[in-house]
Symmetry: C2
C-alpha cells in the first residue's frame, strides 16, 4: 500500500504534468517517455518500468483527467444544467493549454488503439457524470420517459468540438449557449428517445 | 495554358491519389513528399517544385476533395435534404478509406497552420454547398427568417464527427437520422437564428 501523497503518488503527479506539458508543446507525435522523464526530473527507468509505452502513459493521463474533472452542476433545471455543461466544455476547449491538450489526445486516439480506448473511457466517464441531469429531468416529467441521457449530453458537446476542429470561429459563450439550447430543444421534442 | 487532361493534370491526379494512399495508410505524421513521389511514379523534383511542402500538398488535396464532393440534394423538403446530408457525411466517415482520410486531415489541421486553413476552406465550401437547402426552406416559410443556414448545416455533421472521435459506437444510419432530426427540430424552434 502506498500512502496517498507518498513518493509513488508524487512521481505520478510529476510525470503526468510533464506528459501534459509535452503534449501541449509538441502534440502527440512529439510525446516520448525519455523526454517526459527528463521534464519530470524522474529516472528514465522508473518511467519505462511504470508506464512502458506512450499509449499507456496517455491512458493514465486520461484516467487522471477524468478523476480531476469538475463534478456536474445540480441547478434543478435541465436548461441551466445543460448550459453549465456547455460553458464548461467551451471554456476548457477555448483555454490555450487545455484546448491544446484535448486536441493532442484526440489526435492520439486516431493514431494509437490504446489511446483510443482510454479516450473513449474518458468521454464515457464525463458523459456518465452529467447524465443524471437528464435522468432527473425525465423523472420531473420535463423530457419523454425513454430519452437516452447519454445522447443528450453528447449533443451538447458535439457542436463545440466540431466548431473547434473545422472552423476558425472563436469558441465563445454564445456558441456554448446555442449548443445547449439545440440539445435541449431536440431532447424535449423526443429526438433522443431510445429506438 | 494546360489542356485539361494533359500531362500536368495527370501528374496532379497521380500525386493527389498517392497522397491520399499515404494518409490512409500512415496518417499525417507519415506524409512525406519523397514517398508520395515514389508512390505516384513521378519525379521527386516535380513534386518538390510544384507542392514544396506537406502542408501545401495537403491544401491541394483538400481543394480537390471539395471539387470532387457530391453536390447537395434538392428534394424540396428540408427534412429530406438534411437527412440526405447526414447520410452522406455518415457514409463518408464510416467508409474505411474515406474515414481514415478524414481523420488524417483533421489531425493535420491540429499540427500544421496551412493544413488548418485548407481544412477550414474545405468545410466552408461543403457548408456553402448545402446552405441553400436551408435558405430555400426559410423562403418557403418552414424556418424563422433570420435562421443562419451555416449553423443548421454544421449542426447536422457535428454529432457524427463527435461520435466518430469520442466513442467506439458504430457510425450507422440511425445515428445519421438522429443528427438530422435534432438539427431540424432546433432550427424550427429558432435555435439557429442570428443574434
Amino acid at each position: 500500500m502506498q500512502r496517498p501523497g507518498g513518493r509513488t503518488a508524487r512521481v505520478r503527479t510529476a510525470v503526468l504534468k510533464a506528459a501534459e506539458d509535452a503534449l501541449v508543446e509538441l502534440g502527440f507525435a512529439g510525446l516520448d517517455l525519455g523526454d517526459v522523464a527528463r521534464r519530470a526530473e524522474v529516472g528514465r527507468t522508473t518511467v519505462y518500468r511504470r508506464w512502458g509505452s506512450v499509449g499507456a502513459l496517455l491512458a493514465d493521463l486520461l484516467t487522471d483527467m477524468a478523476e480531476q474533472s469538475l463534478p456536474r452542476t445540480r441547478t434543478g433545471s435541465l436548461a441551466e444544467d445543460l448550459r453549465a455543461n456547455a460553458r464548461l466544455v467551451q471554456g476548457t476547449l477555448a483555454d490555450p493549454r487545455q484546448g491544446a491538450l484535448f486536441r493532442a489526445v484526440l489526435v492520439a486516439a486516431t493514431c494509437d488503439p490504446a489511446a483510443a480506448e482510454a479516450l473513449h473511457r474518458f468521454y464515457r466517464a464525463r458523459v456518465e457524470e452529467w447524465a443524471p441531469c437528464v435522468t432527473e429531468a425525465v423523472a420531473r416529467g420535463e423530457l419523454p420517459p425513454d430519452t437516452d441521457p447519454f445522447e443528450v449530453v453528447r449533443a451538447v458537446s458535439a457542436p463545440l468540438y466540431y466548431r473547434m476542429l473545422t472552423t476558425p470561429d472563436p469558441l465563445d459563450e454564445p456558441a456554448a449557449d446555442q449548443a445547449a439550447t439545440a440539445a435541449l430543444t431536440a431532447a424535449r421534442a423526443g429526438t433522443f428517445r431510445r429506438p
